[in-house]
């Protein structure tokens, strides 16, 4: 069992507070993604769980043990770094077996474990290569191999995909998900990419300025964002916000806005007149950017659309799927 519990965690450097009183309970075998814009404290939080940074106050428990003052090696965790942290002078085999050699396992045991990990990650043919001879995706897999051979209670991932190109990122995302299903270990995963968060997580923790904004399943966050920050962070393209004279904001996602002439029948709707300022065909859909009384509205229209930029258009908002926020940006 390896639940991870963070209780009233605080972190400050000198007088600058990075994280102020944060608590999260992570279940055994759960895949939790910490997501937020850069500088929100998510990497610091991960590094504190790893033991690479001290905590200023609070209590971190992994499994049954309080690990506050434990060395990283005694916490029974493994970490995958953004830059992979592979040792360039060692072969893939040596890299993967590094931690096992540190644990003074017998040669035969090391070989068995490395081969198993290589099998899972399809690295068997690459074991004699050096990191410089590998592609970005292969390096990423080696660094995951180094983590899984140690059979840790918790995996920590620190933005593992951000050095890869978009296509590879999608592939590796799927591999990480598969990996979680195979090894069934608690995973804490840090990213700034909401797509990664949505696709990978059992639960997402959204952070901003060192504070938790919301914790929930991806669909919770998508359907019931507690504030404007979460609403705009989750979903792509971003949610549209239309504020009325009383300061109440209607948040509505681009996929809930239709061209009025081409809209399905819906229960609660509102029609607005806007001017088209940009048209981006994506193939399966077209992104339209329109100006509505000084507010920029993004619309995700299915298929191909043939309109002229500058043209007046009428948009139908599916208000039934909208979200209302008060002046402070809190959901009402």
């Amino acid at each position: 069992m390896a639940q991870v519990s963070l209780k009233n965690i605080k972190k400050s450097y000198d007088k600058t507070e990075i994280i102020g009183d944060l608590s999260v309970e992570i279940e055994d075998k759960e895949f939790v993604v910490l997501v937020g814009p850069s500088g929100c404290g998510k990497s610091t939080l991960l590094r504190m769980i790893a033991g690479l940074e001290d905590i200023t106050a609070g209590k971190i428990t992994i499994g049954e043990r309080v690990v506050n003052n434990m060395q990283p090696k005694d916490r029974n965790i493994a970490m995958v770094f953004q830059n992979y942290a592979l040792y360039p002078h060692m072969t893939v085999y040596k890299n993967i077996s590094f931690g096992l050699r540190a644990a003074k396992l017998s040669k035969a045991d090391i070989k068995k474990k490395v081969n198993e990990a290589a099998e899972i990650l399809e690295l068997t043919d690459l074991l004699d290569r050096k990191p410089a001879q590998l592609s970005g995706g292969q390096r990423q897999r080696v660094s995951m191999g180094r983590a899984i051979v140690r059979d840790p209670q918790v995996f920590l991932f620190d933005e593992p995909l951000s050095n890869l190109d978009a296509k590879l990122r999608a592939t590796m995302r799927a591999e990480i998900k598969k990996l979680h299903q195979t090894v069934k270990t608690t995973i804490i995963y840090v990213t700034h990419d909401q797509v990664e968060a949505m696709t990978l997580a059992d639960r997402i923790v959204i952070l901003k300025d060192g504070e938790i904004q919301q914790i929930g399943t991806p669909m919770d966050l998508y359907n019931k964002p507690v504030n404007k920050f979460v609403a705009s962070f989750i979903g792509s393209p971003e949610m549209n916000f239309i504020t009325n004279a009383d300061g109440i904001t209607l948040g509505i996602r681009p996929e809930d806005i239709y061209l009025a002439d081409n809209a399905p029948t819906l229960e609660k709707t509102r029609t607005i007149a806007a001017t088209l300022i940009l048209q981006e065909p994506m193939g399966a859909e077209t992104l339209l950017t329109a100006d509505y009384d000084g507010t920029t509205i993004t619309v995700k229209a299915p298929g191909t659309v043939n309109l002229a930029v500058g043209q007046a258009i009428r948009l139908l908002l599916n208000v039934g799927n909208g979200h209302l926020f008060d002046k402070e940006g809190i959901r009402v």
């Binding site: 790893a50 033991g51 690479l52 060395q71 990283p72 090696k73 965790i77 493994a78 970490m79 770094f81 830059n83 942290a85 040792y87 360039p88 002078h89 060692m90 590094f98 931690g99 050699r101 540190a102 644990a103 180094r146 140690r150």
Partner: protein, 298 residues
């Protein structure tokens, strides 16, 4: 078409580059390369600095290799190298390794280690020469006396003189090597150490499997530069031994002093040139060997 008249941008750039390089190139050819090549031809003559240069074939080399003193000198030169390199490498790495880990007083300590590198070798050699004197002048013998240990001869002993001369030579180069090691250590990404810490590696495994292999290029550089330095040792020996002879009984005399004495005391320029060629060959072979060894699976 008239558009193609004149030079391309690339050609113009190359011409400018060469224009700027002309002066250093001319300088190097006249002041460095010509004398170097001249030394090779001089080594086959009996030139005595004022007379004719008569070609005498390999006579200088034959005389040289039959001279027992030359072999003693060559032996001394290699002793400087074989003791100097490991000792200075071990010292400078150890100091740099621990200096890197401290924050308080880091700059001051680093400056202290670097000062000898900036100081004139002659002045340092004389200070050390005094250190090695018998009581009441020499502090080493004073210290030994205080501890009730027998006095040492140091520079007057045929066995202790060479290590005694080597000490300040190592000390003088230490600051430079420490700075280079520090730069090398600092360029190793932190994430390597963090990953190692999480994987449970101890200090030993981190040192042998991460730090040292990552410093391969740094070590190569230091070994090559300091090899050249020790093989060319001169100032310390010249200033710490009687009349700069490299005594007692040639016990500290290195090849460069031998060359100097042949050329400017005995005026046997041809013989001195032959010795220079020998030194040149040794330096080149050692450097190439080191480069090759260090490059292997690097």
């Amino acid at each position: 078409m008239s558009n193609n008249k004149g030079l391309t941008v690339g050609q113009k750039r190359a011409i400018w580059a060469w224009l700027f390089l002309v002066i250093p190139i001319v300088y190097f050819i006249i002041v460095r390369f010509y004398p170097t090549f001249d030394a090779f031809s001089m080594s086959f003559t009996d030139w005595n600095i004022i007379g004719e240069r008569n070609y005498i074939g390999f006579d200088n080399y034959v005389t040289l290799f039959n001279d027992p003193v030359f072999w003693v000198v060559l032996g001394n030169t290699f002793e400087y190298l074989l003791f100097g390199i490991p000792i200075s490498l071990l010292l400078s790495f150890t100091i740099a390794y621990y200096l890197d880990q401290i924050k308080f007083g880091h700059g001051l300590l680093r400056a202290c280690y670097f000062v000898p590198f900036l100081t004139t070798a002659v002045a340092m050699a004389w200070v050390w020469r005094w250190f090695y004197q018998p009581v009441p002048i020499g502090i080493f013998n004073l210290a030994l006396g205080e501890l009730g240990i027998l006095q040492m001869d140091f520079l007057r002993s045929t066995t202790q003189a060479l290590p005694a001369v080597l000490m300040p030579a190592i000390w003088a180069g230490l600051g430079f090597q420490i700075i280079i090691f520090l730069a090398g250590i600092r360029s190793i990404p932190d994430s390597y150490y963090e990953a190692a810490k999480i994987d449970g590696a101890g200090d030993r495994q981190i040192l042998w499997e991460i730090t040292l292999p990552q410093l391969r290029a740094t070590i190569t550089f230091i070994v090559i530069t300091s090899s050249i330095g020790f093989l060319r040792i001169f100032d310390q020996v010249y200033n710490m031994t009687q009349e700069g002879e490299g005594g007692p009984l040639n016990a500290t005399r290195p090849l460069v002093i031998h060359i100097y004495k042949s050329a400017f005391e005995d005026f046997e320029m041809g013989m001195a040139a032959a010795q220079t060629v020998v030194l040149f060959t040794i330096l080149m072979v050692i450097t190439l060997l080191q480069l090759k060894v260090m490059k292997k699976d690097g």
